[in-house]
């Protein structure tokens, strides 16, 4: 399947009073047309920055380097005006809090009118109405509510409206950043169904950013696990969950409390800050499998299976590991206090 978007060695960083934060540090990803890629990680791992960076929506002062290829063009170096023209009709975005993204003074109808007029100026009023109602209907919003205001809708309805607003332009890629986080579990499940069905109904690819492994398992074809600004592991969701390669993925899966949990587990330590991340592999201070090479050298991405990528010395390449490098190293002592 051809890729709708390709990220190559993307780096995103911004300055703070304490130093430069390398939020995304050498990330490469591919999203196949019509597929759902889950980007999962804990808070502060850089997943939201990556999602916004792909769309060129970084705050002022942020810097980018590397490639985001869309239809053969690099979005990183594209002029802001041109990029703005792509956002919406080609690349859509759905945020976490649906209420703050809808204008409380505008009817739902006006939101759609504005969006469509902005990007498809040739549409007649009638066509605008038809397309809006059709998209809303597929999200389960009845036409009787087309002229209502955002506050007249429940949280789940608002998120459906936001998704419809993104889809009405028929983008080829949608980036959804924690789209269900503020929703209740049954409504979340309803929205996940809609997102998982995007391909069948709209032929849209989806980058689904979440901290919830359950959501990835539910809605995603592939998953990329992010840790401290880097992709620790990437592969088909089914395989990664069944047999995680990276110790971080494995430990994260074990720590997830689900209905099947019989024993509590947690990862010692806390995710590092991205101003002065640990040397070598960034997970090494918390890793149960840490070897001598891990703190000493940056890991090199390998493909232990044709369809899977992992950034961990356990998988070599052996030629790059110095003699004795695979000996277990003593895990740096982590005070309980640093733990959580």
């Amino acid at each position: 399947m051809s890729a709708v978007l390709e990220v190559r060695n993307l780096r995103l960083w911004y300055g703070t009073a304490r130093g430069s934060v390398r939020a995304v540090d050498g990330v490469s990803l591919e999203i196949a047309a019509g597929s759902v890629l889950g980007l999962v990680g804990e808070s502060g791992c850089g997943k939201s920055t990556l999602g916004r960076g792909i769309l060129g929506l970084l705050p002022e002062g942020a810097r980018a380097d590397g490639e985001v290829l869309y239809k053969g063009r690099n979005l990183v170096t594209m002029a802001p005006r041109e990029l703005r023209r792509l956002r919406g009709p080609d690349l859509g975005l759905i945020f976490q809090e649906p209420m703050t993204r809808l204008n409380p003074l505008l009817r739902i109808e006006d939101h759609f009118r504005e969006t469509l007029e902005q990007h498809e100026s040739k549409l007649t009023d009638d066509a605008i109405r038809r397309r809006s109602l059709d998209t809303l209907g597929r999200m389960g919003i009845p036409p009787t509510r087309f002229r209502q205001y955002p506050h007249e809708f429940s949280g789940g309805m608002r998120q459906r409206i936001m998704i419809a607003l993104a889809l009405v332009l028929r983008p080829s890629l949608l980036v959804a950043d924690e789209p269900t986080t503020s929703l209740d579990v049954i409504v979340e499940a309803q929205i996940l169904r809609i997102l998982a069905d995007l391909k069948a109904n709209f032929d849209t690819a989806l980058l689904l950013i979440t901290h919830n492994l359950g959501i990835v398992a539910e809605a995603c074809d592939r998953v990329a696990v992010m840790y401290a600004g880097q992709i620790a592991e990437e592969g088909p969701a089914r395989d990664v969950f069944a047999e995680p390669k990276h110790p971080y993925t494995r430990e994260l899966l074990r720590s997830t409390i689900s209905l099947e949990t019989t024993e509590l587990h947690s990862i010692p330590g806390a995710p590092p800050n991205l101003i002065t991340p640990p040397t070598g592999c960034r997970f090494h201070p918390r890793c149960p499998d840490v070897m001598r090479v891990c703190p000493a050298r940056d890991p090199i991405e390998t493909r232990p299976e044709p369809d899977r990528r992992v950034l961990c010395w356990l998988y070599g390449p052996d030629g790059d590991i110095p003699p004795g490098g695979t000996e277990p190293a003593e895990r740096e002592r982590i005070a309980l206090a640093e733990e959580a």
Binding site: E42, N212, E218, C220, S255, I257, A340
Partner: protein, 433 residues
């Protein structure tokens, strides 16, 4: 793990209503606004040493119930006994004394700590407020002691830090330290791990279990998360729109959920296992407005198993038509809407509706033929067209009751013999007059 039987908290018929201020005109003519029934007639017991989970979605009233227990929100009616003493109408002085015995941990550790206070000041604050320590030295010593107990050790490293220097998990540990420094017997924990990263949640839950053991605590664990509750709680109470719909021992609730709402909640949780997906037949819609709850059982509009006596009414018809139209081509919808007219009259909850236009009956007949299994139709007693309009009647609802069923208590007509018999009677006699 579980309680030793002695009742610590006894809640009886508790109601907490929030009044909504009406419009200016309403107040001018002396009309009082409606009320949100955040907690609507709840009774439960909390035994010493147990962990009771109060589980529900947003708007279920679980947080309000917790706050009413602590006296942070006044009760509208009913009683709360704590250690055998009625506490809903205490004087301010007595309430203060009571507060030493019951503490709360909130969801957001970032918002729970004053950013301008050091950890020593924040955690020691309750001692000062209640005048329980003499001098700064003693406060500091006791704070250091409690910090070590919650895992912020060595305490010297944390005493003079500010919340911004701490990670989310560390902050929540400090918040827990502040809650236990007065040696309370009851701790209300309102979503204590929801804002924390997955890799540290278990640590905080383990800490809370250890503290419970060490300090002989009783917990009311308020959460929307059935997965952590399963691990943490001895008993579970499921809340929906201000009422407890099911309550019982955790194992029983998880192994054999009785209420259709509990069943739906459990099935809706996305499990980290791609081989299993969430079923598609989950309840539709969302938690309704607690100021205008549905008639009968509050869950009936979303319930896949609702039947005759569950409370079917005019607003359900409105939703049925809207759902139908959401899936229709524009032309079809416009025709039907023209025949049906405005749906607004259906907004007033009633078991009778009168709609203009004889075509309505044909539309309803078609909707029924398309989806005869839709539970809504069980509630319809008759649809009759007469001189240019259509009359619709629904069966009168039977009020649901919390009744024992096996190991649990459940508020659902499916487990109420009388309601089932009544439904059967209606089914037989409900043929059009």
């Amino acid at each position: 793990m579980s309680g030793n039987g002695e009742v610590l908290v006894k809640v009886d018929g508790l109601k907490t209503y929030y009044s909504i201020r009406g419009s200016f005109l309403d107040r001018l003519v002396g009309r009082t606004g409606a009320a949100v029934r955040a907690v609507d007639d709840v009774s439960l017991e909390l035994r010493k040493g147990e962990v009771l989970g109060l589980v529900g979605e947003s708007g279920s009233g679980k947080t309000t119930l917790g706050r009413t227990l602590l006296g942070l929100v006044p009760a509208t009616d009913g009683s709360v006994e704590f250690e055998g003493r009625e506490i809903t109408r205490l004087s301010e002085h007595d309430r203060r004394l009571m507060r030493r015995r019951m503490q709360i941990v909130f969801q957001d550790p970032h918002a729970s700590l004053n950013p301008a206070m050091t950890i020593a000041q924040a955690v020691g604050h309750p001692l000062e407020i209640h005048g329980l320590a003499k001098g700064r030295e003693e406060v500091r010593l006791r704070v250091a002691d409690v910090l070590e107990r919650v895992g912020l050790a060595p305490a010297e490293q944390y005493l003079d830090k500010y919340p911004s220097d701490l990670s989310g998990g560390q902050k929540q540990r400090a918040v827990i330290a502040r809650a236990i420094i007065l040696n309370p017997v009851l701790l209300v924990a309102d979503e204590p791990v929801s804002m924390l990263d997955m890799s540290v949640r278990a640590k905080i839950l383990e800490l809370m279990l250890a503290l419970k053991h060490d300090f002989d605590l009783t917990y009311l664990y308020i959460t929307h998360d059935l997965a952590t509750a399963k691990f943490f709680c001895d008993r579970i109470a499921i809340m929906y729109l201000g009422r407890i719909v099911e309550i019982g021992p955790s194992e029983a609730i998880y192994e054999d959920p009785k209420h259709p709402y509990t069943q739906a909640l459990l099935r809706a949780i996305p499990e980290p296992d791609p081989r299993r997906t969430i079923p598609r037949d989950l309840p539709r819609g969302e938690v309704p407005d607690a100021a205008r709850p549905p008639l009968g059982c509050s869950f009936h509009p979303r319930c896949p198993k609702a039947f005759e006596v569950c409370g079917w009414e005019s607003r359900d018809l409105k939703e049925l038509l809207e759902r139908r139209w959401a899936g229709m081509e524009e032309a079809g919808f416009e025709d039907e809407q023209a025949s049906v007219g405005s749906l607004e009259p259906l907004d007033d909850p009633a078991t009778h509706a009168r709609m203009p236009g004889g075509a309505v009956k044909a539309i309803l007949d078609e909707a029924r033929a398309e989806d005869p299994a839709e539970p809504f139709w069980t509630g319809v007693r008759r649809i009759e067209s007469a001189d240019g309009h259509v009359e619709i009647d629904w069966h009168e609802p039977v009020a649901p009751r919390l009744l024992p069923s096996g190991q649990v208590e459940v508020e659902c007509h499916l487990y109420d013999e009388e309601a089932l018999a009544e439904a059967e009677k209606r089914r037989r006699s409900g043929i059009p007059r």
